[in-house]
Point group: C2
Chain length 162, copies 2
């Protein structure tokens, strides 16, 4: 029992530390006047891809945190397949990103905040419930929810005050 | 009445000629041993973006014909917004591409062949029926269906024989 609790704490701490790295990416987006969303991709307990939202800077609609992290990870692995990887992102993925995540064969998705307007992990629909020929995907919500939400709120408050 | 028919023929011919350009892009993908899907984006009756599937070559999961055409059009317009644009693609868009298309604010989507396994314009689901804060989008199927289907079948036949 004590062992179980210790394992649970270790597991939670590890996942939280990866989400903290995603949050650091969100801060980078914030500093560039982009909607603050950040993402990391982890394989064998190592970060193999990082990205943040750069839609306005790059003038590319698909330059979301998840897509940029997927590009970074694919470059590092020299492969579009990201099997046995976990993705940590500070906002619920949209249809585009969830589509890319599933096609990448990523195993686990952790996200901080629900996105009522665009989210495809439960808010608008559960895209992973459709059988798109991809392996099973696990989706978890809640890590660093308050921090990620506050950062988004601060961004939109700043935006409205301009 | 005669005028209506002439207009209808002119409209059909124009759309067919744009799909023929998308088909040329699909032939390029075929020549590179990529699943043959091609795409063009049109604004004011001019092609402003072209792309074909380059997933294996680029080792990027999102290097689909539609995403590559969106990148090309956005570069040409210096804007991620593709309002009042029409997209022509030889295969029904997947969730990722349909998400990107809707977020680009593209007005019209023409596709040739239904994709039963991955398609998000009716086959697996109608992604455009969800209200993702994007403007209304019109979706049309059927232009160059036989040609685009034959090309895909030829590709998979060649792949299996290897």
């Amino acid at each position: 029992m004590k062992q179980d609790v210790e394992n649970a704490i270790r597991y939670y701490s590890m996942n939280k530390s990866f989400m903290e790295e995603a949050y650091k990416e969100a801060l980078l987006a914030f500093s560039k006047n982009e909607i603050p969303v950040g993402c990391v991709i982890v394989k064998d307990n190592k970060i193999i891809g990082r990205g943040h939202n750069l839609k306005e800077t790059s003038k590319l609609v698909y330059s979301h945190a998840e897509i940029n992290a997927i590009a970074d990870a694919s470059k590092n692995l020299n492969n579009w397949r990201l099997n046995d990887c976990s993705l940590y992102v500070t906002l619920e993925p949209c249809a585009m990103c969830m589509g890319a995540i599933m096609q990448s064969q990523i195993s686990n998705v952790y996200f901080s905040v629900f996105d009522k307007a665009m989210g495809c992990c439960g808010s608008k629909l559960n895209l992973f419930e459709y059988n798109f020929q991809n392996p099973k995907i696990n989706v978890f919500q809640g890590l660093l929810e308050e921090e990620s939400k506050s950062l988004l709120q601060e961004f939109f408050k700043k935006l409205r005050s301009k």
